[in-house]
Assembly symmetry: D2
């Protein structure tokens, strides 16, 4: 941590910084320039110490953090890539894992048809929401536990692991008893009580990026799950909020190589929620694989025209089948397979 003193600071003010650093067990090195005095604070946990503790002291102009605030999710903490195992499906290895299915579980027939299609096309995991966090209280809120049971039956019938969202701290173990992977939605990325509860479970989790959270905040949120003892964390980029309005969100494709560089966790991409329109999904899915993503989370509906939720961003079965073919070629061109 670097503490820059104001021009004309006094020796007493500098000493105030030094004393506080020592009280926190930090090493100190002084740089007394002609125009500016700068104090460098050294120690292994400066990423976790609030900068405010120094910024409030008299004579301090600014405090800059050198260490990152996240720790367990960092590549410095664990150098080799983590591989998450979902009942035999490995995420983070050579294989690109495609998770596909409808946004919401609507009824048994729809889900079974979706499961059949995505399995047939080569997807490794079936997605489907039972608890739906909707922006309006007047929208369809999902089937709840009945939806979870349908997911369990689809999983059994088609032999495909399922992923579904959990929205309440107290539902974690129920959802985990039906699903093979939990999903934390974008709006809950900083619901820290939920993250802490999942940390105490052993079920793998896909942690979607908050649509206005930085990569650093995302990895710090992952630390909440990891700190609880659950190391099965998969990150999922799903677009960030910007001023651009031709897409629902702006897919931050750069986050893939950035995470690869600074973290050991696998990262997948959801092109459907980012785009908001099915016609843009194939281009984004292909870009994600080319950029190094470990998997994809894609909305597919047996009949998007009748979907209760997000029909516009869902692929039809035939569009999904065609996309899977294209993705296989791209995967091969980057030394991977689906």
């Amino acid at each position: 941590m670097i503490v820059e003193m104001r021009t004309g600071t006094t020796p007493e003010e500098i000493d105030g910084v030094v004393q506080r650093a020592k009280s926190l067990g930090l090493g100190v090195q002084l740089n007394l320039g002609t125009e500016k005095a700068v104090v460098a604070l050294l120690g292994s946990n400066t990423g976790q110490i609030p900068t405010d503790l120094f910024a409030v002291l008299p004579g301090v102009a600014s405090v800059t953090r050198i260490m990152k605030p996240y720790k367990l999710a960092s590549r410095e903490f664990k150098a080799e890539n983590s591989v998450v195992n979902i009942n035999g499906v490995e995420v983070g290895g050579k294989r690109i894992v495609v998770m596909a299915g409808p946004c919401a579980v609507e009824n048994e027939a729809q889900l079974m048809e979706a499961a059949r299609i995505v399995k047939q096309c080569g997807a490794s995991v079936l997605r489907g929401g039972a608890f739906k966090p909707r922006t309006s209280p007047f929208s369809f809120q999902g089937l709840g536990e009945a939806g979870l049971e349908m997911l369990s039956r689809a999983k059994e019938r088609y032999g495909i692991p399922v992923i579904t969202e959990v929205v309440d701290t107290h539902d974690v173990s129920t959802v985990a008893s039906h699903a093979d992977i939990l999903q934390v939605g974008s709006r809950n990325m900083q619901n820290f009580t939920l993250l802490a509860a999942i940390g105490k479970n052993s079920c793998p989790v896909v942690l979607k990026r908050g649509f206005s959270c930085t990569v650093t905040e995302w990895l710090t949120a992952a630390d909440y799950v990891l700190a609880g003892g659950n190391s099965q964390v998969i990150l999922c980029e799903r677009g960030i909020r910007t001023f651009e309005d031709t897409t629902r969100f702006s897919l931050d494709i750069s986050s893939i190589p950035v995470i690869r560089k600074v973290s050991h966790l696998p990262v997948i991409v959801d092109p459907s929620h980012a785009a908001g329109h099915w016609s843009l999904v194939p281009a984004l899915a292909k870009a994600a694989v080319a950029a190094g993503a470990d998997g994809l989370l894609i909305e597919v509906h047996p009949n998007p025209k009748e979907a209760l939720v997000d029909g516009l961003q869902s692929l039809t079965p035939s569009d999904f089948a065609r996309l899977m073919e294209e993705l296989r070629t791209i995967a091969k061109s980057v030394g991977r397979y689906i």
Copy 2:
């Protein structure tokens, strides 16, 4: 809702839109231009019907919503201003209500001293966090129930209502038994299970704006609480995330007149979290009152240099006393008082 058809659309495609509209009970008016066909959908609930239901149909180019997605929070639903009553303190009337205190309850002595100061300076409500949602799991997480009990004692001793944050659905009634107002933090604005739980309680609530949510989404979130039967909702602008980095967030001062125009709910401003630095707080607080805010939520700490959380954005007692004097003058100049 306005459905624009693609150039060269067929009569069958237009009929598809008309049939779906009729199945949803909507009125229809056709505009067959020379270049574009446009279908207007009429009805009182078009704000709540997902645009996707039409956007997925063949031949549709775009769907534009005219009605807003929020309903109960709108001025069209209720024309006159709502006034929220917090044990006798009215928010939304002539008086500008100042809620002040430390970010976190740290210990009994700190809280009592804070209560004494803010009461003396003329604040109407004491703030203090017992459950702290922190971005890192390694940061101080608040005192929890012990903090709630300290708040109860401060309230009794100084005769001042208290506001504190609730972060878990299952804590709502416990927190409401200690606090006079619940606070929903920015990161929980779209935690819909939490909002629904608060909707079933009768305790007034301050709903902070999600730092990347639009005014429309904010009012739609308020609908969750209102739809549950709790009409005591106060909105709180606390800054949005932008590219600017000299402040922690960018206070969206325009949201005050916008909300005044489209909603009947009272709106207050938190200049402390927006600014992130105590030196900017007075200018923002004065701007908020001049722009028409019904109140302020300000961080004040007996000794910011020793604060465990957010010390840099906390005012000292003497700075707060001075600011209150200035705010009284501004309030008077816009026909209000503190």
Copy 3:
């Protein structure tokens, strides 16, 4: 254009809208709903008529534009893809065109070495800035005309077309006499006098996206060049400004399929300025090709450690050679070649 009237509007107010529409030669269709009256305005040029002309009228609640404000750049204006010809190098066809070289022309030796390397690796165009728009007046501002002459010599010696930036209206013809393609930088995308001057020239132009401009504004800016008679416009996505800070800008990968859908103009990608760091450039370049970009604009420097400008985002010759190999494989997997 859709004009929504306020609740309780009067027949006189509706007539005011109708009269203004007629005075502008627009067709009108009335939708008198039970809650809202809506007026649809029909005509072929409603994309160019300011919405304010109606929004200011009494009784009007909102005005929504259905037609896009851009015209000449739209796919509705020209259905088939445009191909821009740069002295024999076609942009917008099957071939993916790589433009590469240093950010700034620093001296003859550096430029010649860069030209040799990029040509050898298979790039089709040499880039190099002679006029550098720098954020600080105290930074290196480029070699100016001397730089243009070096570019001319490199072009002659290595038989490779060159692209360079133009920053002043009055330099357009001089720059065009040396360069094969003009470049308009991000900060000048809405320098309309510059765009108009380029529109009167016949030299092809790469129009970089303003880092905070929407796709719609970008295409409307392209209309300035096209309206002047210059149809040789190539769009270049180079990242937009967001809150994310691990990259210099956020590459908006979605803009590629969006532009493909709504415009006939070719689009290329500059991964170097978006990333701001050489280590992220390969992933972004590969993603761009997979997403359907027609070309790339990449910074390569013979010795980035000694670069005067943007060394951190420049690839070394060997990294560039390796990337070109990888790009060839990706290009093939999407049915194209380099």
Copy 4:
């Protein structure tokens, strides 16, 4: 400047940093921590040295700038507030200077009527655009030199200084011969050739903030004008681009106290372009004065319903008269006058 080395850096790499620093005349102080080595670079011009010069060196993990990139605009360069004198009207003193008038000069009658009104209501400067930078080439582009001449006549007739925009480097002296203050629009804030040309003129200038530029970039742009020798620079906050869509831009009210803190230049606010709707202008104008702005730039039109440009954000004469009364009261409450 702080250079953080990667974990496991070698003495040779550290020496590479030290040698480069010395070659640039910088002082060096080493901090060899147990986990990280950090090199502090000291010198008076580190704000102007590109961080890339160090970031490219082997072993470097990150480079953090402590000094600001702007210099002449900083309060460290000049401690006391600058006052800009516009033919006797002082901006930056006790008086709050209101500049008002139509967005565009449309014809002599409109301008004269506008001049009469704003003068009568107490505005100190008349605004009116002769060269209009419009996002579409098919929109009204302004009257050009004929408009400048009308401004000269209005100025003479009503004895009020005028401000108008300059958009082309080669028009600076012509515009300056008619206007008392030049205006640089938001889209030209980083048109560095234009800024350099204005720097060589002696006419005062209002430098509007680029709608996606940080405060730091804005002050660095001001340095371009100041470096040329023109010290008469007034900054103008006019809203930044964010995701919020109920206003045209988001007025960054915090920029006022931030600039007051870090710069000596006067700062005014344009609430009209930020809001995009006349009904929001009064609240924003009042907030600006309360926050400490030195002036306002407000759009007023004799008849907004007939305005050729931006009618929706223009105040009517009677609304402007009422606002001026309210502003006088607010100004008084912060110890100033209009």
